[in-house]
Amino acid sequence: MTATAKKPRRKPPLGIVTKPGSSLRNRTGPWGILRPEFDWGKCTGCNTCESICPEGCIRHLEKKQYEADTEYCKGCGMCAAACPFSAITMKEEHR
């Protein structure tokens, strides 16, 4: 193989190469129209909602207190459906 001077390279095509962390950078919360409302009075701290959330956006604040990060919560309602104590209600949210 003949040695040639290294040619300048093009930019990578747009939108193909993504650096890690894009799911944090892309705030997907605004996609949804429903938000979970937590009734901390009914909550037993069983952790079902946190573990079932497909976005991983439910935070455990204290023993019987959870909340959803609305920057990423798309309002799918799985937490409300799974809560054994009906402590979560899906509410329409208009932005």
Binding site: P13, G15, I16, N26
Partner: protein, 389 residues
């Protein structure tokens, strides 16, 4: 070195000379001999590649996608139903702008099951972003694979290339083929130097997600680069000619077209028959020429306009059909000629489906039907079968 070998063996040797790091394929008639030969070459240590056995064509294409994404030159081959099963991954490979080469052996699609040649399978993949080159004979097939890697990996292109060859007619035919030496190919085709690759030290995601705010721009770029790749295809063909002394045209190749009143257009191995038939008709004083499309994607619109500028009639032979519309190539040629001051009629003869022979008789029939003004028709139809029901 000149050898008398089967077309499939020629492909395998050419691919081996291109030094792929990963080969993955699932055997399917009439592609089988190509990948059998390659797996044997790997097993014998003749080429330094990893041959990944898989359970389907979808997986074969996926293995290749991953290998190219990891920065490794990759190759696969398939046909017909296997091509259909690959389709999802083929769009991904093109969309991720990963350069690689697949031999698209041309075979009819089911149902009914048919293992013989037409070009329905690769034509069905035409919108995927793959460059599609169609070869006329086994020497061109060998040379086209070597060109294909170079075209594909060019920074201006970064698109996968499908080398299309007619099943059985080329794959299973023994012809004299001049197989280049390793030194020649190494000098022509440098080692693959990926623009980006998967690397644990510098992690990336490839082709992950683009929402409505970005997707159109990504598609615009693939379209822009696909159209511009015509220049690279021509450039590589000229470089190849300088290095190896063989020339097949750049995106088109014309035969006796200079003074031709009627130009026949087709792709693939049928061009050989058409040239002989053209010679015969020329002896009878008819001004007929033959135009070969080497490159179907990107579609050579401007080049076709120029090549057909003086034709009074154009006849397109189609080994595929867009069911419910008609011939794909003819439709695109009509579109290419649209809007000029004077456009010749473009006739469309669907022909040779499922391996039916295309003979001088077939071409005579097409000539007389198009002379009589038929525009879209199936040539060589056995009317007695249709009438018998």
């Amino acid at each position: 070195m000149r050898k008398m070998i089967e077309g499939s063996r020629g492909v395998a040797e050419a691919v081996g000379l291109c030094r792929p790091g990963v080969i993955s394929a699932y055997p399917i008639t009439p592609q089988t001999h190509i990948v059998e030969e390659l797996s044997q070459m790997v097993a014998d240590g003749d080429i330094d590649a990893e041959y990944v056995r898989v359970e389907s064509e979808h997986s074969a294409a996926s293995v290749c996608l991953g290998a190219v994404a990891a920065g490794c030159r990759s190759y696969s081959a398939t046909t017909s139903q296997g091509m259909m099963l690959m389709a999802e991954v083929l769009y991904n490979i093109a969309g991720m702008r990963l350069p690689m080469v697949i031999t698209g052996v041309n075979r009819a699609l089911s149902a009914p099951l048919n293992i013989w040649n037409d070009q329905q399978d690769t034509m069905a993949i035409r919108d995927s972003g793959w460059i599609q080159l169609y070869a006329e004979n086994n020497q061109e097939v060998v040379d086209m694979h070597i060109q294909a890697f170079k075209i594909s990996e060019d920074d201006r292109v970064l698109l996968p290339v499908m080398v299309c060859m007619d099943g059985f007619i080329l794959t299973h035919t023994y012809e004299t083929v001049d197989v280049p030496t390793q030194e020649q190919v190494d000098a022509f085709l440098p080692a693959y130097d990926p623009l980006y690759k998967l690397d644990p030290k510098e992690p990336y995601t490839l082709g992950a997600f683009a929402g409505p705010e970005m997707y159109e721009e990504v598609r615009y770029e693939i379209q822009r680069d696909a159209l511009a790749s015509k220049d690279v295809i021509g450039e590589v063909a000229r470089d190849f000619q300088a290095a190896f002394g063989r020339w097949y045209g750049d995106v088109l190749d014309s035969y006796r077209c200079d003074d031709a009143e009627t130009i026949y257009v087709a792709m693939g191995s049928v061009i050989g028959t058409m040239k002989d038939w053209c010679d015969m008709r020329r002896e009878q004083g008819e001004k007929i020429g033959v135009l070969k499309l080497r490159c179907f994607r990107p579609f050579p619109q401007d080049e076709l306009r120029a090549a057909l500028a003086k034709a009074r009639r154009v006849v397109v032979l189609e080994k595929a059909i867009s069911v419910g519309a008609y011939g794909i190539l003819a439709a695109e040629i009509r579109a290419a000629l649209y809007g000029q001051a004077a456009t010749p009629p473009v006739h469309c003869a669907v022909v040779g489906l499922g391996g039916r022979d295309i003979t001088f008789d077939t071409l005579d029939e097409i000539e007389s039907k198009t002379r009589a003004g038929e525009m879209d028709f199936f040539a060589g139809l056995r009317r007695e079968m249709l009438e018998a029901g």
